[in-house]
């Protein structure tokens, strides 16, 4: 009986610490080292290692869908191998039918006026272009193409081969013509900038 009481006193604090480590790992977007865990939990390294031992046993293949893995940078959760097929289905998104208005406008600007910088895209659209540009880069439809001249010049973007494939273009010369907007790229650019200025005033 006394033995049992003692064990409860001895184990409970590590259990609480294990719950804290459990929590830290579910919030982290990169593996956490033992030192990082110790600092965040305000506890010592040995006890963190004990807690990690407890958790490694709880979160292991066959026992749980969440598996605690030791990797180069420290500890992180991953999905169990048993769930690999389901995870693959989750990450393999269905083919998307179209682009959002923001993405379509942005990629059109890059296709016709490229290479262009984010500030110029934002000016022509009248709203910030950061998230649209990021999503198009992630999809591989646009890519970086050097910087604007001058010190601290902004990164410029151009469309990619994947863009040409998705839009069924042999090359950029095959883009639909915009003669109604201007004779060449420069004229179109000027027209768009003039309208953007009128919009901002």
């Amino acid at each position: 009986m006394e033995d049992r009481t003692l064990r409860l006193i001895a184990t409970n604090p590590v259990d609480a610490l294990a719950r804290t480590v459990e929590a830290l790992l579910v919030v982290a977007s990169a593996p956490l080292s033992v030192d990082e865990l110790a600092e965040a939990a305000a506890d010592d390294v040995e006890r963190i290692e004990t807690a990690l031992g407890l958790l490694s046993d709880r979160y292991r293949e066959g026992r749980s869908g969440i598996v605690l893995e030791q990797v180069a940078g420290g500890y992180a959760y991953r999905a169990s191998r048993e769930a690999a097929e389901a995870c693959a289905r989750l990450f393999e998104r269905p083919v998307e039918r179209g682009l959002s208005q923001a993405a379509l406008e942005t990629v059109a600007i890059v296709a016709y006026l490229g290479p262009v910088s984010r500030p110029e895209i934002a000016r022509v659209r009248g709203v910030a272009a950061d998230s649209a540009v990021a999503s198009l880069v992630e999809r591989g439809l646009i890519a970086e193409a050097g910087r604007e001249s001058g010190p601290g010049g902004a990164v410029r973007y151009r469309v990619t081969a994947l863009f040409e494939r998705v839009f069924g273009l042999e090359n950029l010369g095959a883009l639909p013509r915009l003669d109604d907007l201007g004779d060449d790229t420069e004229a179109i650019r000027e027209r768009l900038h003039a309208v953007a200025e009128a919009r901002a005033s």
Binding site: S29, A30, V71, Q101, A108, L192, A196
Partner: protein, 262 residues
């Protein structure tokens, strides 16, 4: 004596400082009237009045004139294309419409308060932002697209936005800088001039802007202002001359100097 309106110290979200500086910035278009909290100004003014034991009718009158000008500026900025709609309404309907908008804004402010409290109560909820450390990469696939969509999107960006009607703007403000230049030129030719004579024939708003130009010149120390009595003509002279001539420090005349709290 300090003018209770001009040196009214404001502590608003978008602006902190005396009222006349606020007006100067607004008229010089360095501050957007849309950013200014009108209720804050009124409440501060009423609080200031209370601190003084007497009811200063002049100050109240001055405040009403300046404040209504400010309200008009702000209203124009906010409802450029709406004013037309309101114009077409009967006075009762217009009042109803304004009341509806005020009620909507009040509800949104309440919603913002609720969100702020919610945020405070959720401060101990932590979750991961972004992808999991050991998650597989997402492959996004896009179906075949029609290139015509690109041209349509770009053409839409080349369309001028609907133009804002300025027909209802009967009053136009000359910039403060115009009066600043004009007064500088005057003082280049003459040692001093009468403000009232110079602005005679101008609209009330133009006179107000001219007055702000005076304050601006006084602030940078280019001119000296004196007035023999309340409502007497305001005399404007070169600041350098004022130091030596000291003509108006007469015991008999209660001199009213424009004071500023910079």
């Amino acid at each position: 004596m300090l003018s209770p309106v001009h040196d009214l110290d404001l502590d608003l979200d978008a602006f902190e400082g005396p009222f006349d500086l606020l007006l100067t910035l607004l008229l010089k278009e360095e501050l957007d009237p849309a950013e200014i909290d009108m209720v804050g100004i009124v409440v501060t003014f009423v609080e200031r009045l209370t601190e003084r034991d007497e009811l200063d009718l002049d100050a109240c009158g001055e405040f009403l004139i300046l404040f209504s000008g400010l309200l008009e500026l702000k209203a124009r900025g906010l409802f450029p294309d709406d004013a037309g709609d309101l114009d077409e309404l009967e006075p009762e309907e217009a009042a109803e419409e304004l009341a509806r908008r005020l009620a909507e804004y009040r509800r949104m402010k309440e919603a913002a308060t609720w969100l702020a409290e919610r945020l405070a109560s959720e401060r101990d909820r932590f979750f991961r932002l972004g992808p999991a450390p050991l998650a597989p990469r997402v492959e996004r696939q896009l179906a075949q697209q029609d290139p015509a969509g690109l041209a349509t999107a770009l053409r839409a960006l080349a369309v001028e936005p609907p133009s804002v009607s300025v027909a209802h703007m009967a009053l136009r403000f000359p910039p403060v800088s115009q009066f600043v230049e004009r007064f500088r030129a005057l003082l280049g030719r003459r040692r001093r001039f009468d403000f009232d004579t110079e602005v005679a024939g101008l609209s009330r708003i133009e006179q107000a802007v001219a007055f702000l130009a005076l304050l601006e010149l006084r602030k940078v120390g280019e001119i000296a202002l004196s007035q023999a009595a309340p409502f007497a003509p305001i005399r404007v002279g070169r600041a350098s001359d004022e130091m030596t001539t000291n003509l108006s420090d007469d015991e008999e005349t209660s001199q009213w100097k424009i004071a500023r709290s910079a």
